[in-house]
């Protein structure tokens, strides 16, 4: 889970009783700008009752004929009311950002890139846990695979989704289906059925293979003086690597930041051990609850 940042205030466009709608042009400029800056924006028209989305600060904007009556079941909510009838976009943004700065810190920039598991498809095989070197995956108390460290995930790297034999790993911000959550086609399933263990696909240990590539790439770069040529060379190495690891699409930054081969091997062993442990515990708890080995529906291969 990402370290929680103090929330930005929620902004409420009040176009309910005793108010006039906001200027169309101002509203059209304001709302996308607020959303792009990380605010939650609500418009209410009929009701004066607010849902509680957990915010502690609420900025209410409107062309008020009289002060709005707002009720919320959040006792800690602080309400800042602003009549916008003489505001411009600039003065309004200045006001909102001023309130926000007083109560919250700027969010660290992070493209929300992380795997999301489709449990309708997942068979809990733990291949993703064994594969990931960055502790993104873990197991919960029921020994079920889970994504536990989203921010450890390497931005734009969808490699683990390629490893999943069930097409159960999504990256919602990925460019193409089915990894982005699009429906899974017959062609996708055919491809997955042909997928063998990733290590054998590469004729050995994927991690040592990646590391080897990374070392070769790094030594080339260190001899390189000309930036343009270095860039082209990086690209060439990356292309070569990509064609070797088929469609894993591991970004260059991830390859160049791989730890030493010993560290990688230790990490891979650890991850494999955790996966094996979780599977063994799951099997033994199944046996103890049923009095003998049986098929757990959560680990049954779904019929696609």
């Amino acid at each position: 889970m990402v370290a929680t940042n103090p929330e930005r205030p929620r902004v409420l466009l009040y176009e309910g009783r005793s108010s006039k709608p906001m200027d169309v042009a101002l509203r059209r400029q304001l709302v996308p700008s607020l959303l792009d800056r990380g605010y939650t924006v609500t418009r209410i028209t009929q009701t004066a009752s607010l849902g509680n989305l957990g915010h502690t600060e609420l900025i209410v904007l409107g062309n008020f004929e009289q002060q709005p009556e707002l009720s919320s079941d959040n006792a800690a909510l602080r309400i800042h009311t602003r009549d916008v009838s003489s505001d411009t976009f600039e003065t309004l943004m200045e006001y909102i950002e001023g309130v926000a700065q007083g109560v919250s810190q700027a969010r660290p920039h992070w493209k929300p890139w992380f795997p999301v598991i489709d449990y309708d498809r997942c068979t809990n095989c733990m291949q993703c846990l064994s594969f990931c070197l960055f502790d993104v995956y873990g197991v919960n108390q029921a020994n079920q695979i889970t994504v536990q460290n989203q921010t450890n995930c390497k931005t734009d790297c969808p490699a683990c989704s390629r490893v999943c034999p069930e097409v159960a790993i999504l990256f919602p911000k990925y460019k193409a289906g089915p990894i982005n959550g699009d429906e899974i086609s017959q062609e996708d399933l055919r491809r997955e059925a042909m997928k063998v263990d990733i290590s054998s696909l590469l004729g050995g240990d994927i991690y040592s293979m990646l590391k080897d590539r990374s070392i070769k790439a790094k030594s080339r770069f260190s001899k390189e003086r000309d930036d343009d040529r270095a860039l082209k060379e990086r690209q060439r190495c990356l292309d070569k690597l990509n064609s070797n690891v088929q469609s894993l699409e591991i970004p260059a930054e991830v390859l160049s930041s791989l730890p030493s081969l010993d560290q990688i091997q230790a990490k891979a062993q650890q991850a494999k051990h955790r996966a094996e442990q979780a599977l063994a515990q799951q099997a033994s708890s199944r046996e103890s609850t049923s009095g003998g080995p049986s098929e757990d529906p959560s680990t049954t291969r779904p019929s696609h």
Binding site: L35, R43, L53, G54, L170, G181
Partner: protein, 127 residues
């Protein structure tokens, strides 16, 4: 025009995966429609943070979520500890509209909000 079912719009602010023209046009038409709505900057980011604000949203009867692929949205809510009842999705009580695959016209018509200024050009852009 639908007056009753709540709307949640996702801006997908931290990546360029939803076509800009679609998300801008849907938002503009939503604003001009006078419909009440909830909008968030990025559901993915909220899911990663396990934002507790997703819990009441996931339970809103009749909710229409304007975001991206339904499979992604369903599991993002689930990952945030705010699972959407699958039977609600199946029965259409909660609907997920996809701005990555559909035109702004198609989305707005599903939302029951009035047409845009130039639907034809929108349709062409999506082809």
């Amino acid at each position: 025009m639908s007056q009753t079912r709540p709307i949640l719009y996702c801006r997908c602010a931290y990546a360029k995966v939803v076509p800009e023209d679609v998300k801008d046009q849907v938002l503009e038409r939503l604003l001009d429609s006078g419909e009440p709505f909830e909008s968030v900057s990025d559901l993915c980011e909220m899911s990663a943070r396990k934002d507790p604000g997703l819990i009441p949203l996931s339970k809103q009867e009749g909710l229409r979520i304007v975001a991206c692929y339904p499979r992604a949205v369903k599991w993002l809510f689930s990952a945030a500890g705010a699972p959407i009842d699958p039977s609600s999705i199946q029965a259409g009580r909660i609907e997920i509209l996809n701005m990555r695959s559909d035109s702004s016209d198609a989305i707005c018509s599903k939302l029951g909000i009035p047409g845009g200024s130039d639907p034809e050009s929108d349709a062409l852009q999506r082809d």
